[in-house]
């Protein structure tokens, strides 16, 4: 019986060290940029850097770069469904009640502002949270 023994890819130590160094640097960048006030950019920036770090781990440490394509497809499917899960859920929760809403802001935002205005002084609470949302 012929069996195909192709050698497994051995990632060079230098590559692993470089990637580890890159991950450390990106972590430091994440922390430093989070301390700067960038307004609405802070969150997407932090998430982008996190994706870059995760990408390095997946591509090199988990060796997806040198692996069978099917594993990459499996991973991509997982990420795809995560994206679907997140976006469809937010599409619901961010826009509740908006089908008939003619105001500029979403119903959710208006409720939030309302609660912040009135609930803030009475210390409206944590106990109500379960019933409200």
């Amino acid at each position: 019986m012929i069996h195909e023994e192709h050698a497994h890819h051995v990632t060079p130590r230098r590559t692993l060290i470089n990637v580890f160094g890159g991950l450390i640097v990106l972590t430091i960048v994440t922390v430093m940029t989070s301390r700067i006030e960038l307004g609405p950019l802070n969150v997407p920036l932090a998430l982008t850097i996190a994706c870059a770090k995760a990408g390095l781990v997946v591509w090199i440490f988990m060796a997806l770069k040198w692996d069978n394509r099917v594993n990459g497809i499996v991973f991509a499917l997982g990420v795809l469904f995560l994206a679907v899960f997140l976006s469809f859920t937010l599409m619901d929760t961010l826009y509740r009640g908006d089908l008939s809403n003619v105001e500029r802001s979403t119903v959710s935002d208006m409720e939030r502002e309302e609660a912040a205005r009135s609930g803030g002084d009475t210390g409206e609470g944590n106990a109500d949270a379960a019933s409200e949302h």
């Binding site: 069996h3 195909e4 023994e5 192709h6 497994h8 051995v10 990632t11 060079p12 130590r13 692993l16 060290i17 990637v19 580890f20 991950l23 450390i24 972590t27 994440t30 922390v31 989070s34 802070n42 969150v43 932090a46 998430l47 996190a50 770090k53 995760a54 781990v57 997946v58 090199i60 440490f61 988990m62 692996d67 069978n68 099917v70 594993n71 499996v74 991973f75 499917l77 997982g78 990420v79 469904f81 995560l82 899960f85 997140l86 859920t89 937010l90 929760t93 959710s108 939030r112 609660a115 912040a116 609930g119 803030g120 210390g123 409206e124 609470g125 944590n126 109500d128 949270a129 949302h133």
Partner: protein, 203 residues
């Protein structure tokens, strides 16, 4: 034999995407509550010490590095280096859990518990009682880091078993599948934390 190795790896990747989706449920909960109450989440994130979180991030990244090294060494039939790096991985994981223990005890000591027992008091925590929906942030924090912590502990246990097998001489460049699969699992645990850290501690 190679076909078995490939099949095992694919099986592990399939399992890993179920893990991604497991944590997704919690990440989505975080996203929904954060989008509903952004001020509360921002006000409360200062309760988590970013230095401890940062150290934990570096610790887990180091553990992923030692795992990748252990694979490298077993592929080169270096049993000694394999075992040393596996033990380092377990050690780093232990440091991570110890820091989480410090963080959790700090929270509990100030009455910050998940769920119904939430009653923040004391010097740095008293004002959290007045922020609506702060309790939700803490609940999400405890559940997400808690389930992640369970995954770290399970990983430590599995690695301990892999070390035993490695010392017995079970692994070589011809066969190291269990090391490979456990390594893949561990990298995912690291990736989860890579996302948890900025979302909970930084922004």
């Amino acid at each position: 034999m190679d076909q078995q190795f490939d099949a095992s790896k694919m099986g592990m990747w399939l399992f890993l995407i179920t893990e991604i989706l497991l944590f997704s449920g919690m990440f989505v909960a975080y996203a929904v509550y954060r989008s509903w109450h952004p001020e509360a989440f921002q006000a409360v994130s200062g309760a988590l010490d970013w230095r401890l979180g940062g150290i934990n991030t570096l610790v887990l990244l180091a553990s992923s590095f030692t795992v990748a090294l252990s694979i490298h060494h077993v592929q080169n039939d270096n049993r000694r280096a394999l075992v040393i790096n596996l033990l380092l991985t377990i050690a780093f994981a232990g440091v991570f859990m110890f820091i989480k223990y410090l963080e959790y005890s700090g929270k509990f000591a100030h009455g910050v518990f998940p769920g119904a027992n939430y009653a923040p008091h004391g010097e740095h925590y008293g004002h959290y009682a007045d922020i609506p929906y702060a309790a939700q942030f803490f609940s999400i924090y405890f559940v997400m880091t808690g389930i992640h912590g369970v995954h770290v502990l399970v990983g430590m246990g599995i690695f301990a078993w892999i070390v035993v097998r490695a010392l017995r001489g079970d692994f070589s460049s011809a066969y190291y599948t269990p090391v490979e699969l456990t390594g893949l699992y561990w990298h995912l645990v690291d990736i989860i934390w890579i996302f948890l850290f900025p979302l909970l501690y930084l922004i």
